[in-house]
């Protein structure tokens, strides 16, 4: 009964999305305040029904209702309750339900927080979001219904959740990622609303900035969590594979990073207007492309959901409509007017332009590398080729290093033009400082100076020095006077430097050994010594495991690590569960390979210095993005645009007076 209620809730949410689209877009176009006034309750209703649908599926999982096909395929009565809970979004149907729930949540947030916006503009924003949700809900209801029943052939027990996904990382990674993906729909809706209404000045940029920052922070966190999950769960110690699906999340991130910077220029200086609109459209289009890549089964990867051609076709058609439609609108309505604001080479505008160019080129590199095998397969009728890490690393790393050079100069340059004496004074000590760090630190740590490590480490220090210097200068009148938005920006940039240090040090200094070990044998791993004490059997809740026992001696500290080889009972698949001794300065990573003769085992051990810094950096970046939104400026903004005191938040129409229609 409850799954059917979930199904009905989806249908009702779909009807409400139709209403939101109609009343929002038509209400704004025909200037009907009553229609716009109805939006609030429709948006609340849409969220409530999505939440009910989500709860219905959650209930089916928690009560082991295997008559629901999706539950039967992705759960098992032996599964611990918290994995039953996260299994709701463990496969295609449920994860898309989560996606739509989040979409409804963002729509509600815009309706609530956007009360200060002119009524017709808010109506258009909500109308565009409703239109997107019509597509999403239609996809969910007609191609991916999570409530489908297996009646009368109800299985006695479920097929279990994919063991790779029985993990804390899966509980948090998809929700964060979707918050980011879907969050960029807000910036998209603002851009389209601006194009529809012809309000192409800086105001739309000011309104959509906090939304883009929040979405970006979530996406950063989501990607960081995904990388961390892949690192410890896939069992071979890599943290980024240039897998198509990783790229699918990385492309909107690159475009979104360009967007939040370009929005700043548009808001503060009134330039880059059309470019910013285009980036807002591009970022969300790439989110949709990511959904297409993951959910259509066109590419194989650890993330691939069940293959279904109708789904791929549906998303492709949706993609063409949404992206094609918005780009057409852009062509028809965007302005070609050059703004009269001038700026020089050493100005913040120029550096943000460099930032945008580098990020967009990097995005294009990833896009090309991701789509080439797909285009090749299509053009040859099913033949496959791989474009591998060498391609991405060769092109992507230099771009990121160039970006870091610009990033270190960013806080030193000012809007319009920078006084050259001040710039020279700063550079006089920053350049030697960064050079010394770049050469010195790798030399001390590893006794050698590989140029990649030197470049990356030096540039990271370069970024840190520049931001520290600028913070000191700004804090001179008092630390409390430094605005939160500035803290947010600096923190995000510091996070980038931290990630850069992590990436460069890990890739250059890691030690990796694959060996055959017999029980009792001791082996060296960098400065560690590792003793193998054999393998024993262990029984888990829904798996049996062979557990290796390793004694690690690190200086005068000794500890044990227990990597496992697990066989999950319901599906019979075998998983490598690595054992990790984490640390800020180094990780020790043990994994158990195959059993060999005489009780020997193939063992892979890795010493990975600074690997945590990669994820620490993304956490700091996300924190920076979130902090910037809390700036008092945005609160003042809301007050300034709020309805006059005493009046209900009635829809207010901008521009010409209302036609005298009855209310």
């Amino acid at each position: 009964m409850i799954p059917e209620l979930g199904q009905v809730s989806l249908a009702l949410a779909f009807c409400l999305a139709l209403g939101i689209t109609f009343f929002g877009l038509a209400g704004a176009a025909l200037r009907r305040p009553v229609w716009l006034g109805a939006l609030n309750s429709l948006v609340i209703g849409q969220f409530v029904f999505m939440a009910l649908a989500f709860l219905a599926l959650t209930q089916a999982f928690l009560t082991d209702d295997f008559s629901v096909a999706y539950v039967a395929n992705n759960s098992n009565s032996l599964l611990p309750w918290y994995y039953k809970f996260s299994a709701v979004w463990g496969a295609h149907e449920g994860s898309f339900l989560l996606w739509v729930l989040i979409m409804a949540g963002w729509t509600l947030a815009v309706a609530v927080r956007g009360r200060h916006l002119p009524g017709d503009f808010l109506g258009r924003v909500l109308g565009v979001m409703g239109l997107l949700n019509i597509g999403f809900l239609a996809f969910l209801i007609w191609t991916s219904n999570p409530f489908e029943r297996l009646v009368p052939m109800t299985p006695a027990d479920g097929a279990d959740l994919n063991p790779l996904l029985q993990d804390f990382g899966l509980i948090v990674h998809p929700p964060m990622l979707y918050m980011g993906y879907v969050g960029f729909s807000v910036a998209f809706a603002f851009a389209v609303a601006a194009l529809l209404s012809g309000r192409l000045d800086a105001t739309w940029a000011r309104w959509s900035r906090p939304w883009s920052n929040v979405a970006w922070a979530f996406l950063t966190l989501g990607i960081g969590l995904g990388s961390w999950w892949a690192y410890y769960e896939l069992g071979w110690g890599g943290w980024w594979f240039w897998d198509p699906v990783e790229n699918a999340s990385f492309m909107p991130w690159l475009a979104g990073t360009a967007l939040i910077h370009s929005l700043a220029v548009t808001e503060k200086r009134g330039t880059f207007k059309s470019w910013t609109l285009l980036l807002a459209i591009t970022t969300f289009s790439l989110s949709l492309l990511g959904a297409f890549i993951v959910r259509s089964g066109v590419l194989t990867s650890v993330h691939a959901f069940a293959v279904d051609p109708t789904r791929g076709l549906f998303i492709l058609a949706f993609l063409v409509l949404v992206v094609g439609g918005s780009l057409l609108l852009y062509g028809l309505r965007a302005t070609t007017m050059r703004s009269r604001v001038g700026y020089t080479l050493f100005s913040r505008e120029a550096f943000l332009l460099v930032n945008n160019i580098l990020l967009v080129v990097a995005m294009a590199v990833v896009l090309l590398g991701t789509l080439y095998p797909l285009a090749y397969e299509a053009a040859t009728g099913g033949d496959k080729v791989s474009i591998g890490p060498p391609y991405f690393n060769r092109l992507f790393v230099p771009l990121m290093l160039l970006l870091s050079v610009a990033l270190g100069l960013a806080p030193l340059v000012q809007w319009k033009r920078t006084r050259s004496d001040r710039l020279r004074r700063d550079l006089r000590w920053m350049v030697p400082g960064a050079l010394a760090a770049g050469v010195g630190v790798p030399l001390v740590v590893s006794g050698a100076v590989p140029w990649q490590a030197a470049a990356a480490f030096g540039l990271a220090v370069w970024v840190l020095l520049a931001h520290a210097a600028d913070l000191v200068r700004r804090a001179r009148p008092g630390l409390r006077r430094v605005p939160l938005a500035y803290w947010g920006m600096s923190l995000a940039h510091v996070g980038f430097a931290v990630t850069l240090i992590g990436v460069s040090m890990t890739s250059v200094l890691s030690v990796e050994e694959d060996l055959r070990m017999s029980p009792g044998q001791t082996s060296e791993l960098g400065y560690l010594s590792v003793r193998f004490d054999g393998v024993s059997n262990r029984q888990g809740p829904n798996f049996v495991a062979q557990r290796g026992d390793f004694l690690i001696t690190e200086g005068n500290r000794q500890y044990r690590l227990y990597p496992e080889k697990r066989r999950y009972l319901a599906r019979g698949n075998v998983m490598t569960e690595a054992a990790i001794s984490p640390g800020l300065m180094r990780d020790v990573y043990m994994s158990l390979g195959e059993p060999l003769d005489n009780g020997d085992w193939a063992v892979r051990m890795q010493l990975k210095p600074y690997v945590r810094w990669i994820w620490l950096g993304s956490l700091i970046m996300a924190l920076g993005g979130a902090l910037a939104v809390l700036d008092a400026r945005y609160r003042r903004l809301r007050q300034r645009f709020a309805a006059p005191a005493g009046a209900a938040p009635a829809p207010e129409l901008s521009g010409t007076p209302l036609p005298g229609e009855a209310r």
């Binding site: 459209i281 496959k384 080729v385 791989s386 890490p389 060498p390």
Partner: protein, 178 residues
């Protein structure tokens, strides 16, 4: 900036969709003709994968027909075609030479231990310079050479049973007859 430039984004998007659409609707394989077909395999000198102190050159590919297969451990498609290469080697005795393309030698040796080694000889190409000479797009790619070292067949993408039956085997028969 002219009015028309605002339509560049949608034109680019339409182009991508158009190419994709044409690609999806084409059922006949449209192979890119290689400029190297009918030409001698390029001269090279490179170390062997398992004996890095030994160097090999074009002369090591002469004497009998040989399939030169460009592969790497980072390439999932290479893992997918690997069984087919092993089968061809076992059933026909065709000599297969590997070019380990833009890869780490230690990883490559481990990979071969795990998946089996169909290669009679493996050439290391860590910086992809031989790959450039051969015009490699992406891994895997394969080249069939006759006794004199002339490229008679080129394949971009995986070797699978269909390709073996329809293309590679007929090409090999011709080489044997000729």
């Amino acid at each position: 900036m002219s009015r028309a430039s605002l339509f560049i984004p949608i034109s680019v998007f339409a182009l991508i969709i158009g190419v994709g659409w044409i690609g999806f609707s084409l059922n006949d394989p449209h192979e890119l003709p290689s400029a190297l077909l009918g030409k001698p395999f390029p001269d090279f000198e490179a170390p062997r994968l398992h004996e890095p102190d030994q160097r090999v050159s074009r002369d090591d590919l002469l004497g009998e027909p040989v399939l030169v297969n460009v592969w790497a451990t980072w390439c999932p498609t290479c893992a997918a075609e690997h069984d087919e290469l092993l089968r061809i080697r076992d059933e026909t005795g065709l000599r297969i030479v590997g070019v380990n393309y833009k890869d780490d030698a230690a990883k490559a040796r481990r990979w071969l231990e795990a998946y089996g080694n169909p290669y009679d000889l493996i050439i290391q190409d860590p910086d992809g310079s031989l790959g450039v000479e051969l015009g490699v797009y992406g891994a895997p790619e394969s080249f069939l050479l006759d006794r004199a070292g002339t490229i008679v067949y080129k394949r971009v993408g995986d070797i699978n049973p269909r390709i073996w039956r329809d293309e590679l085997r007929p090409a090999l028969m011709q080489v044997m007859d000729g």
